[in-house]
């Protein structure tokens, strides 16, 4: 297992390298530069700015310099926020984004798995149809719509929850968590239902029933372990997706997370910030996928034995 994990970690290097090079080339190929402004600066000033940020050098030299510094943990100064480094800006928002992602994923797992369980135990009945229809709705409604609707209902009409910030006012984490987590809760519900239905039809479950075990014991002890495997497998991409997609929720609720930098950097042509956030999200995606693979291997001996981690 450890060998396999190390092997996977080793693949990070070429993946990150390719991401940096492709991102570098793409941002330089994109029209518009970091110093384009409505109030046009003179060519002399643009020249000085290019010099100050090493943009006057050939592209391969820029990539080499960037990689050389990045290996040492220096991701350069932000072009948009003079006086601040990319690392500093990312670190200012990362804890919040991670916290938001954790709450959202916990909410999604809790709601999704319970709904999926209930639905799988009542196939074709009202308790299956209603949660599954709602989950379909949850998948279909993007957070950009759900967020403002929740704000309107709970923040403006009923005035029971704050509509702004993160950790500043009691209850201000509720709406962002629900907004970000709902779509994933819906996916988890459907995955749980599918997984459980498959497991509940297996011979060993029938044997357990024949032995006279209680339904709760059968579901919790015997079926759930296998039934939620699809959920575990999806956990990695889900967390990565939550982190990368958090910018919408961060914008709606004005949360100072790193997701907002990710998008703003692209619009601002803040080259170093684009690279820094791309590296971060690539690294996190790889890591969470790895973690969910490890978890799935532990829950499913077949995967572990066959080296499913690969």
């Amino acid at each position: 297992m450890i060998q396999l994990i190390l092997k996977r970690l080793f693949t990070y290097i070429p993946v990150l390298l390719v991401v940096v090079i492709i991102t570098f080339l793409m941002i330089h190929a994109a029209p518009g530069g970091p110093f384009d402004a409505e109030r046009v600066a003179s060519p002399e000033i643009i020249e000085k700015l290019n010099e100050a940020y090493n943009l006057d050098k050939p592209i391969h030299v820029q990539i080499y310099n960037y990689l050389f510094n990045a290996i040492q943990g220096d991701f350069g100064p932000s072009f948009k926020y003079p006086g601040r480094t990319v690392t500093e800006l990312i670190m200012s928002g990362l804890p919040t984004t991670i916290e938001l992602a954790i709450y959202s994923i916990l909410f999604a797992i809790f709601l999704g798995v319970i709904s999926g369980l209930v639905a799988s135990l009542n196939p074709g009945k009202i308790l299956d149809i209603v949660p599954m229809s709602i989950s379909l709705l949850g998948i279909c409604i993007p957070s950009i719509i759900l967020g403002p609707v929740l704000v309107l209902i709970f923040g403006i009409w009923y005035e029971v929850l704050p509509v702004y910030g993160w950790g500043d006012n009691p209850g201000d984490k509720i709406l962002p968590t629900i907004t970000l987590g709902t779509a994933y809760a819906a996916i988890f519900a459907r995955l749980t239902r599918g997984g459980m239905l498959e497991i509940l039809g297996q011979d060993y479950i029938r044997t357990a029933r024949a032995k006279g075990l209680s339904e709760i014991r059968i579901v919790i002890v015997h079926a759930l372990r296998g039934g939620i495997l699809p959920v575990i497998s999806f956990l990695g991409p889900a967390i990565a997706g939550l982190l990368a997609g958090s910018f919408v929720v961060e914008t709606i609720f004005q949360i100072n997370g790193v997701g907002r930098f990710y998008v703003q950097a692209a619009f601002n042509r803040d080259y170093t910030m684009i690279l820094g956030t791309s590296i971060l999200f690539t690294f996190m995606t790889l890591t969470f996928v790895l973690i969910s693979d490890i978890m799935a291997s532990f829950l499913n001996p077949t995967l572990r034995d066959s080296g499913g981690l690969e």
Partner: protein, 530 residues
Amino acid sequence: MHWLLIFFLFLAGCSGNTDQKSKVDLYSEQGILLLGNGTEPSGIDPHIVTGVPEHKILLALLEGLVIFNPQNNGVLPGVASEWVISEDGLTYTFIFNPEAKWTNGESVKPEHFVYSWKRILSPELGAQYADMLYVIKNAESFHKGQIKDFSKVGVSVFENKLVVTLENPTPYFLNILTHYSTWPVHPETVEKFGGMTSRNNKWTRVNNFIGNGPFKLDSWEINKSLKVSRNDLYWGNDSNKINGIEFLPIDNELTQDRLFRSGGIHLANTVPTEKIIRYREERPKELVEHNYFGTYYYRINTNKSPLNDVNFRKALSLSIDRDLIVKSILKGNQKVSYSFTPPDENSYNPSTKLEFNPVKAKLLFKESGYDINNQPLEVLYNTSEGHQKIAQAIQEMWKKHLGLNVILTNVDWKVYLARETQGEFDISRAGWIGDYPDPFTFLDMMVTDRGNNKTGWSNARYDEILNNAASQISTTKRYELYEEAEKILIDELPVIPLYTYTRTYLLSERVKNWQKNILDTNPYQFLSLE
């Protein structure tokens, strides 16, 4: 379903709870302003930043030689308690207020301004607003590296006074000084945390920042808030009734709107266009609308055919129904433009006209000899629903009145800027907000080869008039010359003005002494909270 019923009963019980104080109520009692401030400020270094959100913050933290007077667009004493202007209008001598202090207790000295202006004019800093100081003798030459010795620039200290020598008599020089790019920085602090020309200087960090404004920097959490509190050492504290300000970087106008409605901020600096009419009806006391010193216009690339033909450009302008755009699309009390510079009934009020006359337009269009089967022209704009609606309306008008086909292209902001600067456009939407209340801030833009001209248009007479205007001491004479230049511009139409901006925002009734002015600037020390 019982739990659902209970849940909604709970919500119903919570609603309409008028006893609960909102954040605005609580903060008003403490004398703290909560301001929605647009995007996260890129910084608070007055010599590097360029945006409006940054300006709003710097207004609290730093003070220049003079302060913008929000009541009449003039100036009030700031660091300089008084000033003397020489008869030829070329020399300004500023006498410093001995009570003007930095937040570390040191007095603000004329030498600090010399250092600050040398800093912004140093080419190595790459300051984008350095040209604000080009009116000072040799400032432009120093900034362009043509002279290296700063002592040749018209800024010096004499008997503890700051003496400024100008290239030309510039009656609006004091207005320029209300712009943050001319405000001072604390030299020792700048040197300590990175040096005069370092863009990555750390002097603006919370623990390092030394300012001289009515407020001092308390905290700055990126994308969350920037808080300032009353500077006890500020010379004008007797009249300052505000204890602190919290600037909230809210770039989404809908979020800002929701926050305002839920009592989270005193000021929402924008209002979603679709809600303006509703606010006008339902919350008229909170909706603020006033003229703004800005023009929305279409920029024409006069280097390209057929746009190099003045008759063609006139036909384009004559077939635009500006009234319709303002009333049916914008709905925000904007005024139709008849000149490039926004008119001011009390000062510069040009008599130029831009009419809607489809018949005349058609005649001129025919005269231009343009074949409508040619490849269609392109209207370029940066992605925005508002720009799109206007562009679609104009596309329709040109089609209807001239039979002209144009295609609309929307691109992201940086692409739009790059294409405009490189001249890769036919017609592009544009807007300009004056930096100081003088027509020069608009008209100078269209001088031959100015960076912001971007149209390729050049007119020797226009350049000459503006050059002459710069040396006029008499405001009346200067305005006459400006008007003459304005007429040339409107006659040749390298730019097609469409409307004069208005500022529309939401302001809590608790904020008192707020002044509606064309620069939308209200120094916070003149406000109060109820």
